[in-house]
């Protein structure tokens, strides 16, 4: 009989094929099991390993064999249980005995298609190289030429306008005596003064209740204690009626996407709302996954989500990549903006968000002609998501820098650059330079920027990065409790800490924006489109963005 010890191994992978290899130090390990208990993907497991040592003691070869079988922590080589490198094991290890090590020559994607299932994940484009916006520098430093300001001494008012900002001559108002009188039935677009960095759309459902409430609470604190008018977009996934009916609703941009989840509940709540929301964002696309929709897996649709979204429990909730019954730009944009404006009596700015695309200018020019369009948000390829096909994330989308720049210069041609704000999203702060990235985008022509991944990393220690670390958002197994509906996981996350960190992040962003704007002599008005203050040490980028080349 053939010894079954010769098991067929042709379908097994080697550790070298995996993106992270567990480095386990037997000499330090106490076998307390915390690492294996905490591993979100069961990539490590306890097992036993045998050593057989043949020794000879004495002056002649006299063999003695010793077998010892010990318990060990071992990494799985099953591609379905690949180590995601999150490092939760090393976090809980009391003896620093275990950690995942990135393996730069892995061949993970070649194998991550088992069973014919395309690889889906959370996170963003797995490209750690510096983005275009990251390469931009501020090279106009005024000392003697302009009245330079001192960020530490002067008072700054870092604010931007969200909403259509009509030039004075187009405002339907006239002076009668000493009073400003509005023409009857004339429309003055609503405009909000907000901090130019916003928390971008992340839904209840995509985020855990602790994370979502932490963000919302931090935003409220910033507005009410710190005096920083930071706003956040709710994403589309329903909004708890308690928040909608509270005064904090004014710090919220309500998003309507293609799934229309929770919108009946929102409509029901409108008569009971104390405050208008900050704005309405109509999501047409997402930078991380252009052309790809959203899907909240059935196992994430627990009681809370079901009730807030107004759906049955435990069903898959699809947000298709396109809105239904919209067949042209004109029709799509016009009817969505009209409908959403009407809901709050035309008192709330309504604007669309699209993914970065070569067709952005077509959308922009349509909006420029639509008096009710309040802004355009463009979400570039470096944006994050809770769940998407890897191919959409890695290979689809448009860098936000040139997209915003082209749109801004288009507006300049039409003389509308101060009228229709552009909002840039996707990869802001990807390398940690949030304020610098925001300032660079502003100087390229954006009125504001959105952050998503950054705020998750900064406030809740999200482990994800561009080396595909963790990125488990789509699985409901987020080790930090950020993107999960499992109370066992999200109760790891302290909403107060999240809120406090939101406050910290924006206070620092405020300080750093001052540091950037002060030497340009700007303290009260954002240098939107002030591209002569920017340089880049790459000739092609400089030419493309029409900014200075400096080296």
């Amino acid at each position: 009989m053939e010894s079954a010890g010769q098991l067929i191994q042709s379908d097994e992978l080697t550790y070298q094929d995996f993106p992270y290899i567990i480095e386990w130090r037997e000499d330090r390990c106490t076998r307390c099991g915390k690492c294996t208990a905490v591993c979100p993907v069961k990539a490590i497991e306890p097992t036993v390993r045998t050593q057989r040592v043949v020794r000879s003691e004495g002056s002649t070869p006299v063999p003695t064999a010793k077998r010892i079988t010990v318990s060990v922590v071992s990494q799985s080589r099953d591609i379905e249980r690949y180590c995601v490198g999150c490092g939760t094991c090393s976090m809980v290890c009391p003896t620093e005995a275990i950690r995942p090590v990135y393996n730069s020559h892995h061949r993970f994607l070649i194998y991550k298609n088992k069973g014919g299932n395309a690889y889906t994940r959370g996170g963003r484009r797995n490209d750690p190289s510096p983005s275009t916006v990251e390469q931009l520098k501020f090279t106009r430093i005024s000392m003697l030429t302009d009245p330079a300001l001192d960020a530490g001494r002067h008072e700054f008012h870092i604010r931007t306008l969200l909403g259509r900002n009509l030039p004075p001559e187009q405002l339907p108002v006239r002076v009668e005596g000493r009073k400003l009188v509005k023409d009857a039935e004339a429309f003055i677009p609503p405009v909000r003064e907000i901090f130019p960095i916003r928390i971008g759309s992340m839904s209840v459902g995509a985020l855990s209740p602790h994370m979502w409430e932490g963000l919302a609470m931090g935003v409220a604190y910033l507005n009410e204690v710190e005096g920083l008018p930071v706003v956040m977009c709710t994403g589309e996934g329903g909004i708890p009626p308690r928040l909608l009916k509270s005064r904090f609703a004014r710090y919220m941009i309500l998003q309507i996407a293609s799934g229309y989840f929770g919108w009946d509940e929102i409509v029901h709540a409108i008569p009971e709302m104390k405050e208008d929301p900050c704005a309405i964002e109509i999501k047409y696309g997402q930078g991380a996954k252009p052309g790809d929709g959203g899907l909240l897996m059935a196992y994430k649709v627990l009681k809370l989500i079901a009730e807030i979204r107004g759906v049955p429990q435990f069903v898959d909730l699809a947000s298709p990549p396109t809105h239904q019954t919209k067949y042209s730009i004109e029709e799509a944009v016009a009817k969505m903006i009209q409908a959403m404006s009407m809901a709050w009596g035309f008192r709330v700015p309504v604007y669309p968000k699209i993914s970065g695309t070569r067709t952005a200018q077509a959308v922009l020019n349509n909006l420029a002609r639509n008096p009710y369009a309040a802004a355009l948000c463009i979400d570039g390829e470096d944006g994050g998501t809770g769940a998407a096909y890897n191919v959409s994330m890695d290979k689809m989308g448009h860098p936000v820098a040139s997209n915003i720049r082209d749109c801004y210069l288009d507006l300049v041609k039409q003389g509308k650059q101060n009228e229709l704000p552009l909002i840039a999203a996707g990869g802001m702060g990807k390398s940690g330079h949030l304020a610098a990235n925001a300032a660079a985008m502003i100087m390229l022509g954006a009125s504001a920027v959105d952050i998503g991944k950054y705020i998750m990393q900064a406030t809740a220690n999200c482990l994800g990065d561009e080396y595909n670390r963790c990125n488990l958002c789509n699985t409901g197994r987020c080790p930090r409790g950020i993107t999960t509906q499992d109370p066992k996981l999200y109760r790891r996350l302290d909403p107060d800490m999240v809120a406090q960190r939101v406050v910290d992040v924006f206070r620092v962003a405020d300080t750093e924006l001052k540091k950037i704007f002060a030497p340009m002599g700007r303290s009260t008005e954002l240098p939107i489109g002030m591209s002569d203050g920017l340089s880049v040490s790459n000739r092609e980028i400089a030419d493309r963005l029409k900014i200075n080349y400096a080296c």
């Binding site: 010890g5 106490t30 306890p46 036993v48 308690r242 509270s246 809370l304 066992k488 790891r492």
Partner: protein, 804 residues
């Protein structure tokens, strides 16, 4: 005016001074303004030449009165006319400047000790970066006065006195010195210190009198004057008022310390401690602001029913994500899973390890009446093929273990139930089910058409493969079971009906004895294999000496036939088949060892008995004195009533062997062709179901899956080493004990305590129940769900479950 003649300290003391001690230096000669450089040179020259009292008639020149290097004497400079910026800039100790009128910007810039009196207002930046000396201002100060002032411990602190008020951005980055703003007739009646004073101030003191509108609270704090402050102020205010000719205000200004307040800088430690003070902590904000507005429990309060406390990453109890379960015997070991009779070889091994060899060998009889015959002789031992031990060396020798049970007496029967069951057919299936039912205490009638029981084991298996004494031993043990055996009792329709009427259950185990044939030309001259084998075993073999024998059908029975043909003296034996031969194992080995030729694929066309040739469709042929066909048999079922369904010649049965007639079961080859072990297994399964049916309890066939191999930790076991004494087991010599030690007890706890020992948290313990039973249990309040018990368990008992 007393002016000293001494010039020792003068940098230019080579010459005696020749100019008067009091001089006037004019900044405008003949209506023409002299440059700041020239005026400076003239002043310096005059001082160098001994002048100690100077009157400077200024015309907007820069920096008048500064840099008069100390000579130990006072140098008094009175400035008349419009002074330029930076009056007294870098003024030195001993210099006293009086400006008769308003000053321009930056009076006393980097003052290093001069006393500067301005009999008017100062504009922006007065005493900017001043370090020592005094500035007396009769009027008010402009914006950004008192910024960047210093305190050098080698000198007295800087003093700056403003009689009226000061402008915006006062005392920014002030690091030392004392500024006094008296607030008399303030130009801004609501605010004597201007907009946002003291930004970045880190040292020094600002005394002021009168209203203010805020200050940089992160940098400084507002305090009442202490007695020491008041003492200093009242001491120094007199000279100030005198210098600016406002002595009449002395009483008003020194009326009460309560009229005054001061701003002093927070220390770095205080600043650090104050950081975030005054703002609510996030918890307070949540409770007092957030939840006050949205409701208790926050925005998700109405939807959340779990406690709002935080959880550690590695919790215990109900908060664990996974929990271990001691799933002893949940899975079948691969051996029992592969054995149709489910003989638990792992339990046999366990009993042997416990020194209970007798019990171990007797255990098998609960599953099969023929361990010696079947397991030990004729079974291909599917159990051994499956044995996990084979993954590291060789499977357990279950064949020999089976033989060990040969001498074991029949087990005790259960108490009689009085229930009557008939079994038709005395082959392995019928004997197995009769054995099991008899053990259960039922009364069995067994009907056999032949004159002996044993069926194909008896009739068809070559004696070489099955020693007669082994079979006889086990048949005789069977006979002890008290089954009423009716030999020479063929069953026809009529007898069947009678049996059916007289018994509660009838088990049909008639086997398959109708040889299958192929209707090629000459097939009537072909000998059915089963007939041939029966002839041999009944002692009436046909003559074959020197013959060429061809066997159609190269399965295991074909091989048995070939062996028998050889032993009857055949000179050449060929087996042919239409496909790859199905024969395997011992049968195949024996047949080929005799020299049996195996040809395939061969489709028989005809047999020419006269020419002794067997022709194939491919045009070839072989010599064939005798052709035996062995392509299977079908059952003979003509006795069955219509209530028993058949399909394609076999009786249709459920998994437990029940036919469409609930009183009738069918097992063995009558239901589908199989190995002897399949027949025995089917007999046992049917007996279980029949027993349940008779005893009227719900029967659920045991549904167990076979344990996945990777659950069993083969790493614990050393590969057997035939000749090395270093702890390995010896492969060459069979012993029950050695085999038992080789057994890995797949899926069945071997009570080794490894789990208990490995659990870091002491969560696992062993408890004993009645009758020597035991189990390992988990204390959920200690367990973190790490899975080390799973990982270490040699037998694959522990499993992790989601902790819902």
């Amino acid at each position: 005016m007393a002016v000293s003649k001494k010039t020792k300290n003068s940098p230019q003391n080579s010459k005696e001074p020749t100019v008067p001690k009091a001089v006037t230096v004019s900044g405008n000669l003949d209506g023409k303004r002299v440059s700041s450089r020239v005026l400076e040179e003239r002043i310096q020259k005059a001082v160098a030449e001994g002048a100690r009292t100077l009157t400077v008639v200024a015309d907007g020149q820069h920096g008048i009165g500064g840099r008069i290097w100390p000579r130990g004497e006072k140098v008094r400079i009175t400035v008349e006319g419009p002074s330029g910026q930076r009056l007294g800039c870098m003024g030195m100790v001993g210099t006293e400047i009086v400006l008769k009128g308003n000053a321009s910007d930056d009076v006393g810039w980097i003052n290093c000790g001069a006393r500067i009196t301005v009999l008017g207002d100062v504009t922006n930046g007065a005493h900017n970066a001043g370090a020592q000396g005094i500035l007396y201002v009769q009027g008010s100060g402009g914006a950004r006065c008192e910024t960047m002032t210093k305190r050098n411990p080698r000198f007295e602190p800087l003093q700056s006195w403003y009689f009226r008020n000061v402008g915006d951005s006062f005392a920014e980055f002030k690091a030392g010195g004392i500024a006094v703003v008296c607030g008399v007739n303030s130009r801004n009646p609501k605010n004597v210190l201007g907009y946002r004073p003291c930004v970045g101030m880190v040292g020094g003191t600002v005394y002021f009198r009168g209203p203010i509108q805020g200050y940089s609270e992160v940098d400084v704090h507002l305090e009442e004057l202490t007695p020491a402050d008041w003492d200093w102020l009242t001491t120094h205010i007199g000279p100030f008022l005198k210098a600016v000719r406002r002595e009449s205000y002395l009483e008003e200004l020194t009326r009460s310390a309560a009229d005054w307040r001061k701003l002093i800088a927070w220390t770095p430690a205080e600043k650090a401690a104050r950081k975030g003070k005054g703002k609510p902590g996030m918890k307070d904000f949540r409770l007092q602001t957030w939840e006050a507005e949205v409701g208790p429990g926050g925005i998700f309060g109405p939807y959340i029913d779990h406690p709002r406390t935080l959880l550690p990453y590695v919790p215990t109890g109900t908060d664990r994500r996974n929990r271990p379960v001691w799933n002893n015997e949940k899975y079948l070991p691969p051996c029992a899973g592969a054995c149709p009779s489910r003989i638990p070889s792992h339990k046999r091994a366990s009993l042997i390890r416990q020194n209970r060899l007798e019990d171990a060998l007797a255990l098998v009889l609960q599953y099969s009446p023929f361990p010696g015959t079947v397991c030990g002789q004729i079974c291909p031992n599917l159990c051994m093929d499956a044995c996990t031990r084979g993954h590291i060396d060789k499977p357990l020798d279950i064949k020999n273990l089976g033989s060990l049970s040969l001498e074991i007496p029949a087990p005790a029967k259960a108490r009689s139930t009085g229930r009557k069951v008939a079994v038709i057919g005395g082959g392995p299936a019928g004997l197995s089910t009769a054995w099991q039912l008899a053990l259960d205490g039922h009364e069995i009638d067994l009907y056999e058409a032949g004159d002996k029981i044993g069926g194909k084991i008896e009739m068809c298996i070559p004696r070489e493969r099955l020693p007669q004494e082994v079979l006889e031993k086990e048949i005789s043990r069977f006979s002890e079971m008290g089954v009423k055996v009716h030999v020479k009792t063929p069953v026809d329709k009529k007898r069947f009906q009678k049996i059916y009427d007289e018994h509660e259950i009838v088990v049909v185990a008639v086997g398959a004895h109708q040889p299958r044939t192929i209707p090629f030309e000459g097939h009537e001259d072909v000998v059915p294999g089963i007939e041939f084998l029966k002839e041999v075993n009944f002692g009436k073999p046909r003559k074959m000496k020197g013959q060429s024998v061809v066997v159609i059908g190269a399965g295991n029975v074909g091989m048995d036939i070939a062996c028998q043909a050889w032993s009857l003296g055949a000179s050449r034996v060929t087996t042919v088949d239409v496909q790859k031969p199905a024969a395997f194992g011992k049968e195949m080995e024996m047949a080929t060892s005799y020299g049996t030729e195996i040809l395939w694929p061969k489709f028989t066309q005809k047999y020419d008995k006269k020419k002794k040739k067997l022709h194939f469709k491919d045009g070839t042929s072989v010599d064939a004195d005798t052709v035996i066909i062995s392509i299977g048999e079908t059952p003979i079922l003509d006795f069955l009533p219509a209530s028993v369904n058949t399909v394609r010649g076999y009786i249709q049965v459920s998994d437990s062997g029940q036919t469409s007639d609930v009183k009738v079961y069918a097992i063995g080859d009558a239901t589908r062709p199989g190995l002897v072990t399949h027949a025995i297994g089917a007999g046992r399964v049917a007996a279980e179901a029949i027993h349940a049916q008779l005893m009227q309890y719900d029967y659920m066939a045991e549904i167990k899956t076979v344990i996945p191999y990777d659950k069993v930790k083969t790493m614990y076991y050393e590969a057997c080493r035939p000749d090395f004494s270093g702890g390995g087991l010896n492969l060459k010599k069979f012993s029950a004990e050695a085999e038992a030690n080789k057994c890995m007890s797949c899926g069945s706890c071997r009570d080794c305590h490894m789990c208990e020992a490995t659990c870091y948290w002491g969560a696992i313990s062993r408890t004993e129940g009645e009758g020597g039973t035991y189990e390992y249990i988990v204390d959920p309040e200690r367990c973190i769900g790490c899975g080390f018990c799973v990982g270490i368990c040699p037998c694959g008992i522990w499993e992790m479950e989601e902790n819902r």
